[in-house]
Symmetry: C2
Subunit: 432 residues, 2 copies
Amino acid sequence: MQQVNLGIVGGGTVGSGVYEALQQNGLLMAARLDANLCLVRVAVRDLKKKRAVRIPRELLTNDWREVVYDPNVHLVAELIGGTTVAREVVLAALKLGKPVVTANKALLSTHGEELFAAAKKHGANLYYEASVAGGIPIIKSLREGFVGNRITAIYGIVNGTCNFILSRMKHQGEDFAQVLAEAQRLGYAETPPDLDVDGHDAAHKTGILASLAHGFWVNPKHIHTEGIRHITPVDIEYAGRLGYTIKLLGIVKPLDRGGRLQVSVYPTLIPNTHVLANVDQVFNAVFIRGDIVGDTLFYGTGAGKDATASAVLSDLADAALDIKTGNRLPPFVPHECAGVVAPIEEVVSRYFVRLSVLDKPGTLARITGIFGQSNIGISSVTQPEGQPGPSVPLILMLHNATNGVVLRALAKIAKLPAVTAEPVMYRVENFK
Amino acid sequence: MQQVNLGIVGGGTVGSGVYEALQQNGLLMAARLDANLCLVRVAVRDLKKKRAVRIPRELLTNDWREVVYDPNVHLVAELIGGTTVAREVVLAALKLGKPVVTANKALLSTHGEELFAAAKKHGANLYYEASVAGGIPIIKSLREGFVGNRITAIYGIVNGTCNFILSRMKHQGEDFAQVLAEAQRLGYAETPPDLDVDGHDAAHKTGILASLAHGFWVNPKHIHTEGIRHITPVDIEYAGRLGYTIKLLGIVKPLDRGGRLQVSVYPTLIPNTHVLANVDQVFNAVFIRGDIVGDTLFYGTGAGKDATASAVLSDLADAALDIKTGNRLPPFVPHECAGVVAPIEEVVSRYFVRLSVLDKPGTLARITGIFGQSNIGISSVTQPEGQPGPSVPLILMLHNATNGVVLRALAKIAKLPAVTAEPVMYRVENFK
């Protein structure tokens, strides 16, 4: 049986999880693969730190170079996170022709193009199943399972922290700050929570899925990203009355046949009858539509020690098989070379708009007049009963229109004297 | 770019679907794989038959041997179905060292052991993604995505026909015969429908998943299989009142740590809050629990031309890459060699029991007495109000017990003078 020697860089949550999983199922994997993954070196930040899992002292070092440059290490797992040292680790290993497994979506999103170029140049592979949707084998499914499909839509709930917060806000009626504090207590949200709640983590993952599906490298700067901080219980309630649930959704969808792509992350109204509306708590789900396969959905735990370890083991297995039989597929295959991310202004969707207006004659006419001039169709108007105070809420659902047109119309509406607060707008997705 | 020459045996629905999909996305696949799948020969039953898709005359033959034995053919797709000629085709190709892609679950279920032995002997691979759950990449996910997991449970809705019928019965309140006729009109059920509605097709697929997950070959004769013919609207309604939905479920679950496995297919009561209860129409879904990854779910179209074609293309891609770089994984890797399928009598579950009893004093005491003597706990008893006639229904939910004990108790109950019809029993799954 072939032996493949593994070096791990990172002894934190993910590193410990992988160590533990290998202890638990290493023999089973060897039997399945006819190749034995043998852990020979682990770099940690602090040699003296108490860990939940005891890694034998003789494997440990506090210098990642002692892992990567060890000639006895055939395969490197980068599990430290961040985009600085992690980048050095990955590049150093690839330069030596050593395949690398990473769970680091921030790194791939920011430096993917450079890393994949290095992998290509040095003939070493780079594996990243754990970077998106934790234990769900979404990278493998997209790359290999749907290799015969043109991917016509991806909708992903890919940030467990945001999904936990939005689920709680919906089911308990609590507000964002309350639930965030609770999520931080439970360990579901970090302090500060910005990477998650401002949508950046979801954007990293959405960008990786978009790049893989469409075969051109999506620059994360081109991904229109909105987080969930501004979502209020009131909006969740009004959306609910109309039959919708608000989810932070990563969306990848061709705008037209010219290679222009919507790649975005924003809170989205999803019809309650759609399966994604019912993905709750910290779970992740990715909905993929292929031109041959039709609609599919993948659901599972999106983060955490064990789900991530499962994905890392899958990559380690692929790497071991590649070492055994030769590289099967490069980490990134360009194929839609004319692809480009369209600016959000050109993206078409439906909209939910909540206005605060003075309850006086002519207001609705003025507002609908502005939408009419902009050629934006209104599919429903609701003025909920019995609100005290001078301002009343007005909920409008708009038909398909480009974001640019709608944003300009809303800017005009915001300036009307009868409109007493900044208009609130969410996009609506009907999965057509 | 490497060229891999493909021969297809079968020009029916699946064969035409694969031909069409290759026409549509062949270039895209070649770009992704850096290998070109070139279709060089197609065997069909009738050269003169009008097809929805026009396959060029010069590719066609009506003799499968002209495909398999053509030295120009590197890779064979067996898409004729059935277990006789299909077996000959697969064995002949493997003997020539040619890799084979098949969508044929009946063939694999019946002759899998022989075919995988032939594949091993001749160093040719056999691919079968399309055999289970259509376009859902479930074989790849189990084999590769979850390679680092011990699979602790599989629950699959893997027969679209049965799921369509049960969904309609639930939502429209129609009876089995009515909905079956409708399904046959819509092309969702065949005539005769036995393979589907008696659970055999689901058993084939469940057996393949079990074999793959547990690494020993599951003999289809050992799979306890019940179909859906006997399910009545009354049972669906009573189950619904208790918060359950009836689905035909393939179940694969270790009974204990000794390698004994439950592998079964039967109509199962699923709590309405569970995601599988809401998989409706012809959709398939497979729920997989791994000891590392936790709970995951895969959802999509389970059958039909396009979903199957998507899975066949994925296998063709894997085969092409294996031809390019060498075989990566054998089609079946034994690893739990002490595994054995436990008889249904030893399987533990919860139960829903519906009895028809004479409405007279002492009846309930006699029935619950028999359960008590058998050490079977009762979790609820319902006697729905207002039923006319001498007999009244009595619904019991039972706690965990082995099937053997429950079946023996029900046989005793059936003999009570106050029990006026054969007891109706369904197993209940709580996914614990």
